[in-house]
C-alpha cells in the first residue's frame, strides 16, 4: 500500500490520540534546553523544525536499564516495564543509524542481545521528512540521507500535515482505516540531496597503512584539547557501548540488581583494566579509536556501510568545538600523504 493524504493538524492530533490508545508514541520534543526523544501526544509537542540534540536511540536503548535481579542463590531476568509497541517519529539518518545498532546488537558474535532485541522489535518507524539540511549535517556524504524503511512518512507545516502510508503492516492498515475518506494527494517524502558540509571518508585501501595512521601526529593535538566528556558518544545514533554495574540494596545482603548504562570510548575509564593499565591512556588515542571505528573499522568488520551516518550531532555537542567531520577530512588528507610516502603536516 502506498497512499497519501493531506490532513489538518487537528486530524493528525486525532490520529495520534487514536494510536496512543494502544501504542507508545515518541518523537523529538523539548525537554528543558534540549530537544530529546520521548513520549508525545500532539503535533504541537513534536519539534520538527529543528535538529534534535539527542538521537532517538534512548527510546529503545535506555541510558540506564536494569538487566537482572539477583539474590544469594538466584538470578532473575528483568521484565519489560512497558509492553506496548512504539511508534517513533524520526529522520532518515537515524533510521539508517538504527540499522547499524541492529547490526551490532543483533548480529555481532552471531547471537542477539536479548535486552536490546526485546525493546527494538516493538519499534515502528514514522519518517519525519527533512525539509532542508540542518547545520552540521553531512548525511549525503555518508549515503544515509535516504531510506525506504518506514511504515508511514510525514511532512509537517503551518498549513497542515501530509502523510504517506508505506507498507502492508497492521499499523498501516490502522492508518488507512483512520484516514480513509480524507483528501488524497500525491505526497511522497523528499530527501535531502545536498548538505552544506561534505565529508570524504579516507580511502585507506590496504591494511599496511594502519600503523602509520595509528602513529599520525594529528592525534596528539587532541591530547590536551579533548576533555574526554563523552558528549559526542552520548548524542550519537550509532554509538552502542555500555558498562554494567551491580547495585547491592543493603551492605549486609547479597540482594541486588545488575544495570547496564551507556558508556563512552572517550572516557578515561573505557579501556582501563582491573589492574589500572589503560590501553588508550591519552585523549588523542581515544579520538583515533572513535574516528577509525566510525569511518573504517565497522565497515571492515561488517562489510556493508560505514558506522557514521553524518547526523552531525557530535559536532553540535562538543564543548571544546572539536569537529568530528573536519577530523575525518583531515585524516583523509593524511592518508593520501601516507600513501605517497610524505611526512604528515
Amino acid at each position: 500500500m502506498r497512499v497519501s493524504y493531506g490532513i489538518s493538524t487537528e486530524k493528525m492530533n486525532g490520529l495520534l490520540e487514536e494510536l496512543g490508545k494502544t501504542y507508545r508514541i515518541c518523537g523529538p520534543r523539548r525537554v528543558g534546553k534540549y530537544i530529546r526523544y520521548g513520549d508525545i501526544q500532539s503535533v504541537e509537542e513534536l519539534v520538527y523544525q529543528e535538529k534534535s540534540h539527542f538521537s532517538p536511540k534512548e527510546v529503545f536503548y535506555p541510558i540506564v536499564q536494569t538487566l537482572l535481579y539477583f539474590s544469594e542463590n538466584q538470578v532473575r531476568e528483568s521484565e519489560m516495564e512497558d509492553e506496548r509497541e512504539v511508534i517513533l517519529f524520526l529522520r532518515p539518518c537515524d533510521i539508517n543509524g538504527i540499522r547499524r545498532l541492529d547490526t551490532l546488537f543483533l548480529r555481532n558474535g552471531g547471537k542477539a542481545d536479548n535486552f536490546y532485541q526485546r525493546r527494538r522489535e516493538k519499534v515502528k518507524f514514522f519518517l519525519l521528512e527533512c525539509a532542508e539540511s540542518f547545520e552540521t549535517c553531512f548525511c549525503v556524504s555518508m549515503g544515509s540521507n535516504r531510506t525506504d524503511d518506514y511504515e508511514a512518512a510525514f511532512r509537517f507545516g503551518e498549513e497542515g500535515v501530509k502523510a504517506q502510508i508505506h507498507g502492508e503492516s497492521a499499523l498501516c492498515g490502522r492508518l488507512e482505516g483512520f484516514l480513509a475518506g480524507e483528501k488524497e494527494c500525491a505526497f511522497a517524502p523528499e530527501f535531502v540531496t545536498e548538505n552544506k558540509k561534505t565529508v570524504a571518508a579516507p580511502d585507506i585501501g590496504h591494511r599496511s597503512l594502519l600503523p602509520g595512521i595509528h602513529d599520525l601526529p594529528m592525534w596528539r593535538e587532541f591530547d590536551d584539547h579533548c576533555i574526554g566528556c563523552g558528549g559526542c558518544n552520548t548524542v550519537c545514533i550509532t554509538c552502542s557501548c555500555f558498562d554494567t554495574t551491580d547495585v547491592i540494596y543493603h551492605e549486609t545482603s547479597r540482594d541486588g540488581e545488575r544495570r547496564r548504562a551507556w558508556s563512552s570510548c572517550m572516557l578515561d575509564s573505557y579501556s582501563t583494566m582491573a589492574g589500572g593499565h589503560n590501553v588508550r591512556a591519552k585523549a588523542g588515542d581515544r579520538m583515533r579509536f572513535k574516528v577509525m571505528h566510525k569511518i573504517y573499522d565497522f565497515k571492515v568488520r561488517f562489510g556493508e556501510e560505514h558506522m557514521c551516518v553524518g547526523c552531525g550531532r557530535c559536532d553540535m555537542r562538543c564543548p571544546k568545538e572539536i569537529h568530528f567531520s573536519e577530523t575525518v577530512d583531515r585524516l583523509a588528507h593524511e592518508v593520501e600523504r601516507l600513501k605517497r610516502g610524505e611526512e604528515s603536516l
Binding site: V75, H277, D297
Partner: protein, 262 residues
C-alpha cells in the same frame, strides 16, 4: 529465547591462597572447557569481570584472581560453600591438538601463568601426547610466585626456567623472561609452537625476542587481556580495530596479534 548474558549459580568448592594478593577459586562446574577459555564472573558488590580458567577437572573449574583495587575485592570475602554467579565459557582456545607431540615453548609473566596452567597440567598428566615442553615463567619477586606446587612438579617433566624481576631465590634466577629466550634450542626443532602470555608490553618484547632468535611469527600464540563488560561482542570495550577480543580471541596467532594496535 535463551538470554545470552544470564549467569548461573555455582558453588565454591575450595579456595587456595596462592599469594597475599592472588586466590584460586575452585568452582563446581561440569562444562567442557578448552584450554585458554574464560568465564565472566559476577564479583559481589562490583559487577562482572572476565577471568581465565586456570585449571579444570572432573566436575570443577578453577579461577585465579588477583586483588587489584576495587574491581575484584568483593570476591576475596567469599568462602567455601558460597555461591558464585558466572557465565561462559567464552573465547577461543589454544590450538592444543596442533601442539601435541611437538616441542612447545610456554613463556608466561605473572598472572599470565593462569591461562596456560590448565594446558600445562594436561601435558604433564599426558606425557604420551606431549613433545618436549620448555617453560619460562617470570614473577616480580618471591612473594608474587603463583602455583608453587605446579611449578615444582613441572620441573620433573619440562625444561623449566623460573625467574624473578629483581632478585634471586632458591629455584629462581634473576632477570626477565626475555633474557632466557635464547636458551631455547629453536634451531634443533623441526615443527614447534610458542605460547606467550602476560601484560601487553611483556608479550610485545618477548615475541620480538623470539623472532630475533629465529622463531617464525606464525609459530607464536598469545592471549590478550582486555576490559570487557559483556564478552559476547556487544559492550565494545575489548574491540581493537575490527576485532573483538571476546569473540575472535583471547588467543591469537602472533601474525594477527601484531596487527592489533589498541
Amino acid at each position: 529465547m535463551k538470554n545470552i548474558t544470564l549467569p548461573s549459580p555455582h558453588k565454591i568448592l575450595r579456595i587456595v591462597h596462592e599469594t597475599k594478593a592472588e586466590y584460586t577459586f575452585r568452582v563446581k562446574c561440569d562444562d567442557a572447557v578448552n584450554h585458554g577459555q574464560f568465564y565472566v564472573l559476577s564479583i559481589p558488590k562490583i559487577g562482572e569481570a572476565p577471568i581465565s580458567v586456570s585449571a579444570q577437572g572432573e566436575g570443577y573449574v578453577e579461577f585465579t584472581i588477583r586483588k587489584v583495587g576495587k574491581l575484584t575485592d568483593g570476591i576475596f570475602g567469599m568462602e567455601e560453600g558460597d555461591t558464585l554467579f558466572m557465565r561462559g565459557p567464552y573465547g577461543n582456545a589454544f590450538p592444543v591438538e596442533d601442539f601435541k607431540k611437538k616441542p612447545l615453548v610456554v613463556i608466561a609473566g605473572g598472572t599470565g601463568m593462569a591461562p596456560v596452567r590448565s594446558m600445562l597440567q594436561y601435558f604433564y598428566a599426558h606425557p604420551e601426547e606431549a613433545g618436549e615442553v620448555y617453560l619460562i615463567v617470570g614473577f616480580k619477586d618471591r612473594d608474587a610466585v603463583l602455583f608453587e606446587e605446579d611449578l615444582a612438579r613441572f620441573r620433573e617433566k619440562f625444561h623449566t626456567v623460573y625467574c624473578l624481576d629483581n632478585m634471586e631465590a632458591e629455584g629462581f634466577s634473576k632477570g626477565f623472561v626475555t633474557g632466557y629466550v635464547k636458551e631455547v634450542p629453536f634451531g634443533t626443532f623441526e615443527d614447534y609452537n610458542v605460547v606467550i602470555v602476560g601484560p601487553p608490553a611483556m608479550i610485545n618484547f618477548t615475541a620480538k625476542e623470539c623472532v630475533k632468535n629465529g622463531v617464525t611469527e606464525d609459530k607464536i600464540w598469545v592471549s590478550f587481556e582486555r576490559k570487557m563488560s559483556c564478552s559476547v561482542g556487544k559492550c565494545g570495550h575489548c574491540r581493537i580495530n575490527e576485532t573483538y577480543v571476546c569473540l575472535e580471541g583471547p588467543v591469537f596467532n602472533y601474525t594477527k596479534a601484531k596487527e592489533l594496535l589498541d
